[in-house]
Symmetry: C2
């Protein structure tokens, strides 16, 4: 069981922190992650920070280029779309594995989760997005299948990253209802329906976010035009550290 193997591993602590920061959009694509500052912040040496960055890179959340500062990954539109295709198939496997096999305790936990999502609906959008993502990861955990969990987790987190770039505001209303529907189908043991509901849900999420290619982006100069006005606000917040 991979889940509880609390290695006390300090590298994975850093990984978790960064993953969560990405999930909550505290970190955005392109943000720099210098290994020494990272190490300093977490009270470990660069060696550990470096290891963590390597791990995150292998998950596709961070980009490593030789001799350059690591940055949060910037998925392209095509990658985002492909990611969702993969994710849909993976999560169909998840519900197939879980269908009719959830313990009462697990059902209870999932219901509690949707309640929390409900509660967060009017709160910060960031929390909604995190909870929505965690719902999918929790499901994958329940399968007890390590590889499936790993892939679902990775694609889910990366989807989140893509949404940072391409997503319009996340409308959580229907998402919560869809989560409930998934639970219903799972409890009912209706495999076909569960798989369809899940696939439909993810397709909806993708559509809401990635309906079409990012603005054609005709000419760089046109994009910059509005910013040419003297007192306009700065186009992008300045890059932060760590």
């Amino acid at each position: 069981m991979t889940a509880k193997g609390e290695h006390g591993d300090r590298a994975s602590t850093i990984c978790r922190a960064i993953r969560r920061a990405i999930l909550e959009r505290a970190l955005s694509p392109g943000d720099k992650l210098p290994e020494d500052q990272l190490g300093e912040r977490f009270g470990v040496s660069r060696t550990i920070a470096r290891h963590a960055l390597g791990q995150l890179a292998s998950e596709g959340l961070v980009e490593l280029r030789r001799n350059r500062i690591a940055v949060v990954a910037t998925p392209s539109f095509e990658e985002a779309r492909d990611e969702f295709d993969i994710r849909i198939e993976l999560e169909r496997l998840v519900v197939r594995a879980l269908c009719g096999r959830l313990s009462p305790r697990q059902v209870e936990e999932l219901n509690a989760h949707t309640l929390e999502e409900e509660r967060a609906r009017d709160g910060s959008e960031v929390v909604s997005l995190r909870l929505a993502t965690e719902f999918h990861v929790r499901l994958a955990e329940m399968t007890g299948k390590p590889t499936l969990l790993r892939y679902v987790r990775e694609t889910a987190y990366r989807s989140c990253l893509s949404l940072s770039t391409f997503g319009r505001p996340h409308s959580s209303d229907c998402a919560i209802a869809e989560h409930r529907e998934v639970i219903d189908a799972l409890v009912a043991g209706d495999e076909k329906r569960a798989m369809n509901v899940m696939a439909g849900h993810l397709d909806q999420v993708a559509r809401r976010a990635l309906l079409q290619a990012p603005e054609p982006r005709g000419d760089l100069m046109d994009i910059l035009a509005p910013y040419a006005i003297p007192n306009a606000p700065s186009p992008r917040r300045t890059k932060r550290r760590t």
Copy 2:
């Protein structure tokens, strides 16, 4: 300025070597991979070897336990079965992406590959297995989708590992025919057929290898019985290093 040739990360050189060794069964599940010996063998420090092992661990090919020597992963039977389920869906995505979109050059390359498989049919089984696996990886590469490639590669390699443990002798005859059939369907642009052929092929591979749970393994003593005969050959080759 350093020689440009060595841009190729030295860690990934080690990774490739180990992956290939696994593919060719030079390394079997459970084999030890001490980082210092690894480093020595490849002319690098433990730091690099360690990094490589971390990478391989994240791919599921190596198991890392704290304070213990890294070992080649030992997938359980259930994991192997689950792995194939995932792999089937992933490779369905691969053929869907490629269907009717292969360039003549790519078709040429795939045909050449099956020819090579044909040629290797009577040779070492190890080579057949490697070629068969590489066929699937080549297909995934042709999609140009990085995540899909990564997951297909990982599951393919791990399948190979599972086969080391559970597989009966690999009968490559039908596998080659099935590969050809996949190419045919892709060229014909028949998406449904291509996906079905690929899924069927992988299902066959899984069935041939994992038809049922590993021998019930009734009693350890029974298993050892044949080896109790004085002059019998050693039950398992002794563990090597590196």
